[in-house]
Amino acid sequence: MSQREEVIRRRVTTLVEAVGGPVAAYTDARHSLVAPDAVWWLTGLRASGPAVVLVSKEGSTELFVSPVDGRRAPVEAVADRVRVASGHPLAELHSVAGKPFPLVGAGRLTRATRHRLDAVWSDVEAVFQEVARGADEVHLAAFEAATAIAEQAYGELFGILRPGVREAEVVAAFDARLRELGSEDNFLFMSAALHNRAVHRPTERLLQPGDVLLAEISPSVDGVYTQLCRTVVLGDPPPELEKGYDLLEEAFQAGLKSCRPGVEARAITESLNEVVSAAGYGEYCHPPHMRVRGHGLGLGSVLPGDLHADNTVVLSPGDSFVLHPNQYLPGAGYLLYGEPLVITDDGHRVVTTRPAGLGYVPC
């Protein structure tokens, strides 16, 4: 048995034990940074169409896929049986089993999907989020691989950044490079301005001397996304930009000190905000000047969730997330600074090998 299969079998067993009986997991195959995929996590199959896996109380798995996955699923999936559904896989499971099951992935259901079912399926997403939480060997390897890709591509980005190039052209080339390096998907916001209000998808805008380029770089490997948040200035950085960036770096370091097991996630935000507030920018520690101070990254679970002042989730070893004090500051504008990390038994480990630092492109 390969390590991948061994880990996946272990995941299945853990879920059955937590639910206390048979359980089904559903995906609509719309993978993204913000929508973890239970079927992928439980079978290793990245479905192209809707799919559902039924886990028996003994831990055997039966995977129902749509025809588009009919050929791949038996090859890629770790499952005891694969069925190609003639209709919607969830409806087929319901038809075969004749009864509803506790369901993971209920958040992906739409009314159209629900209409295919004639009974209410209980939602066990919260249980699943806890079960799938924490980086196992497979998750960690993917997280590190995705981070390595992001770092390499970011290093190469400086070769294409110059005044006169459109934001969208930079992103097209950058994203293509990430794909070449092995990223199967990429949540990428990249935009520039003299004074940014936020980071967003690229536009027609031409890069100009003095621009501050913001990049949220989030490639994925085996369904696991990472995220690097970077700020690059074209030309000499004005003093207020350097000052603002230094402040975010200081805030990041303060937040990092709270990244250890047993600490509530809100403590990270509080530590970070204290630094920003002490510099006189407390009012900018709230929307719309920022959103959150980081967020979980995972294929199965995104716990500990969004890092904000109300998050009482207690950190535990294996939690993987990005810590990013990204925010707007008067004078400097919106700035990005963030690194992916993993909570360890005695603290944390930043997964990137090089600290962010303010990037410069000579003009």
């Binding site: 940074l33 588009v68 999907t113 794909r179």
Partner: protein
């Protein structure tokens, strides 16, 4: 996840075009005695909201609220409006908000417009919103004196057929994608890179995005798996032989594809003949047939015809073709060696037959 630029090309899609669309929706509301409409979209299917606003959400669903007097507000973004400055910059929307609880927010907004109950139309609530959100919003509306009426099909009918001026958008998108394919094919033929098929697809994606695409998606045809979403070399389970790429620009989709450069499948010419036979039947008055065959079910040959433009998930529909419809056709033949023969075409239906879209409209 959308992959491409955000923006609104006002020269190709002027504000008066959006006003025409809005007026059509207001007429729809009047015809159904509705006081307002809530349209829902998500990143995979931004069409219902973007058709009226040019707004395409990146990560989360969005809503457009429009009342019978023409007032409108876009519900979008996360975290209290951080992104609203940008949204206003690249879309035709001036009024943008974020409701932590959409149901009460909508009721409150309607009240601000002087509407405190009546009939409200919905679009996209069945398949584009999460079940919990759709139920919560309609539940709140019902509790506040609003009866709901799903207008998905009448709204889709408004969008289904591009008017003559809208056909220009389709042509622009098609030319943009075909230029990306042509340049990537030439590059690949000149110097096949070590990345193999991956480098070819990635090159198309890169060029289409650089040229303006708001989103690009690619499928690969390989022996073992049929035609599946492209996700990288290491996911291949067979020898890739065909590709299909789709690019969205200003709310319309273009598609291109065929056999990979260098793949000499004897089935390619068979697929071309199959395609031409199918297109010969695309005349005014004919109904689009359902897909003949299946991509992944062991079928050796097939052809798919669908009305084209607003969505890559559009289906034929029951209504008959008329002159001015744009149809996408894809034919494939799979021989014993597991290589695909594939041919695709996007055509404009004319009074006496079809012409390639990019040649039919100057």
């Amino acid at each position: 996840m959308r992959h491409g630029r955000a923006g609104w090309n006002r020269s190709l899609l002027p504000i008066d075009e959006l006003e025409v669309r809005r007026d059509q929706v207001l007429e729809l509301l009047a015809n159904h005695a509705a006081d307002a409409i809530v349209l829902a979209s998500n990143p995979n299917e931004p069409g219902p909201v973007s058709w009226l606003t040019t707004y395409e959400s990146t990560t989360r669903w969005s809503l457009l609220l429009l009342d019978r007097a023409g007032h409108s507000i876009l519900v979008a973004g996360l975290g209290g409006g951080r992104d609203h400055h940008h949204i206003r910059d690249v879309t035709a929307v001036r009024d943008v908000t974020f409701f932590r609880e959409p149901g009460p927010g909508i009721v409150s907004q309607l009240a601000a417009w002087g509407l405190t109950g009546g009939r409200i139309a919905t679009v996209g609530f069945d398949d584009l919103l999460p079940l919990s959100e759709a139920d919560a919003i309609e539940g709140t509306l019902a509790a506040s004196g609003w009866s709901s009426l799903a207008l998905d099909e009448p709204y889709a009918a408004l969008r289904r057929r591009p008017r003559q001026r809208e056909q220009l958008l389709l042509v622009q998108a098609q030319r943009m994608l075909e230029a990306a394919v042509a340049a990537s094919t030439a590059e690949w033929r000149a110097e096949p890179r070590a990345g193999g098929f991956g480098s070819f697809v990635v090159a198309i994606e890169r060029r289409a995005r650089a040229a303006g695409a708001h989103d690009v998606r690619a499928l690969v045809g390989e022996g073992a798996s049929g035609l599946v979403p492209w996700r990288g070399e290491r996911w291949l389970t067979g020898r890739p032989s065909a590709y299909l790429v789709a690019a969205e620009y200003l709310g319309v989709w273009a598609e291109a594809g065929g056999n990979l450069p260098g793949v000499n499948s004897p089935d390619t010419s068979k697929a071309r003949r199959l395609l031409e036979d199918a297109l010969s039947g695309c005349v005014p008055g004919a109904s689009l047939p359902p897909s003949l065959g299946s991509w992944a079910d062991g079928v050796d040959a097939g052809v798919e015809l669908r009305r084209h433009g607003r969505s890559i998930e559009e289906v034929g529909g029951g209504d008959k073709l008329i002159a001015g419809d744009v149809v996408f056709a894809c034919a494939w033949v799979r021989g014993g060696d597991e290589l695909f023969g594939m041919a695709v075409e996007t055509v404009l239906v004319g009074t006496s037959g079809t012409r390639r879209l990019t040649e039919a409209i100057a």
